[in-house]
Symmetry: C2
Subunit: 214 residues, 2 copies
């Protein structure tokens, strides 16, 4: 049994390396087999197709990212929303090779992702590490702010942190050096958004519609 798991792991690792080096389309199953030191049949046995492999890598990155946020959360007894958001951005940036590919996979409509993205048996459905990020929001906003408002703040911040990160990885950002597309400006925008969202969800004078998250 252990030997089988090792082959599976080697296939995933080889694919991950090849997809990020030469791209998904340009990588053949034969090359993956060679790099992973397995035969073609075992790739077929474990994954059926190259696209399933991509989905598997996505789930692995999802899990890794969640675990990183857990570790981060444990490092301090108190986090402001702004501090934690900055750390999430920097985590993405530090491990960009891994995580940028995850977002590219997510936005590739050909990849068959499961509707339960966390890949485990829980019913959690949300961004990676979302439950942990939510704890930071809860600790800061308290119990008087409705649940859906806090969930919305968490997801909106998460999406915007990812957006800032992803834009920094584009070719456009690379050729626009010296422009507004840099870490410092990204963090200012994230911080501004924190302040507006927190103030907004606490303000009963603003008409917000209840949003559902399943």
């Amino acid at each position: 049994m252990e030997k089988k798991e090792t082959a599976k792991t080697r296939i995933i690792e080889a694919s991950r390396a090849l997809f990020s080096e030469v791209g998904f389309e340009s990588t053949s199953v034969r090359e993956i087999a060679k790099k992973a030191s397995v035969n073609l049949a075992s790739i077929n046995y474990y994954f059926k197709s190259k696209k399933n492999l991509l989905a598997e890598i996505f789930l692995l990155n999802f899990k890794t990212f969640s675990e990183c946020l857990d570790d981060l959360y444990e490092r301090r007894t108190t986090w402001t929303i702004e501090e934690f958001s900055t750390e999430v951005f920097d985590l993405l940036d530090r491990r960009k090779e891994e995580f940028y590919s995850a977002f590219q996979i997510f936005f590739n409509d050909g990849v068959p992702l499961p509707s339960n993205l966390s890949g485990d048996s829980s019913s959690y459905s949300g961004p990676p590490g979302g439950e942990t990020f939510k704890k930071v929001i809860d600790n800061n906003l308290g119990t008087t702010v409705e649940e859906w408002r806090k969930e919305w703040v968490m997801r909106t911040l998460f999406n915007n942190i990812v957006w800032e990160f992803v834009v920094l990885q584009t070719n456009y950002a690379k050729i626009s050096e010296g422009s507004e597309i840099n870490r410092k400006e990204s963090l200012k925008r994230i911080s501004n958004l924190c302040h507006c969202l927190v103030s907004g969800v606490k303000n009963d004078g603003i008409n917000l519609s209840e949003v559902r998250y399943s």
Copy 2:
């Protein structure tokens, strides 16, 4: 001269169709030439590489989207930020084949986009139709709100509208039908964000950092 432009246009149209049907990687220059009824040499003459073609298609979509926002803006004498945001979302959704591919191109770090994305001689640097969207923000927020705050509101709304649109196109959204990933929930979130941002930038009690846009 006109004949040359026609060949160029045919190449772009053929590429656009093939890239969205069978994907960028799987499309050969030979197939593009066949579909466009030109020879290989003229593709090479106009575009040098397949990636340049992708950049050209991106710029075309950028321009089309800008023009759509101009037309939209002209349709009414007054727009609330929320109404206009809804229309931008619906425009993306109505023409998803065109515009989704544009965002995929933008986030593909292999594509050589120019730093002046609008592709014309102006120095404008921002999202497609950003100048028009900004007019709606200006009309609603007035002259007492600082320029950078209005620019930040416009770009943040734009990014979030695009995010909501793009997520709806993912395979994840398709298999999560009946969940929170649908147009109605997207529009509620966009509307909530409008209200929080507008209230936030008008509130001197909130500490916002000035952000630069070049």
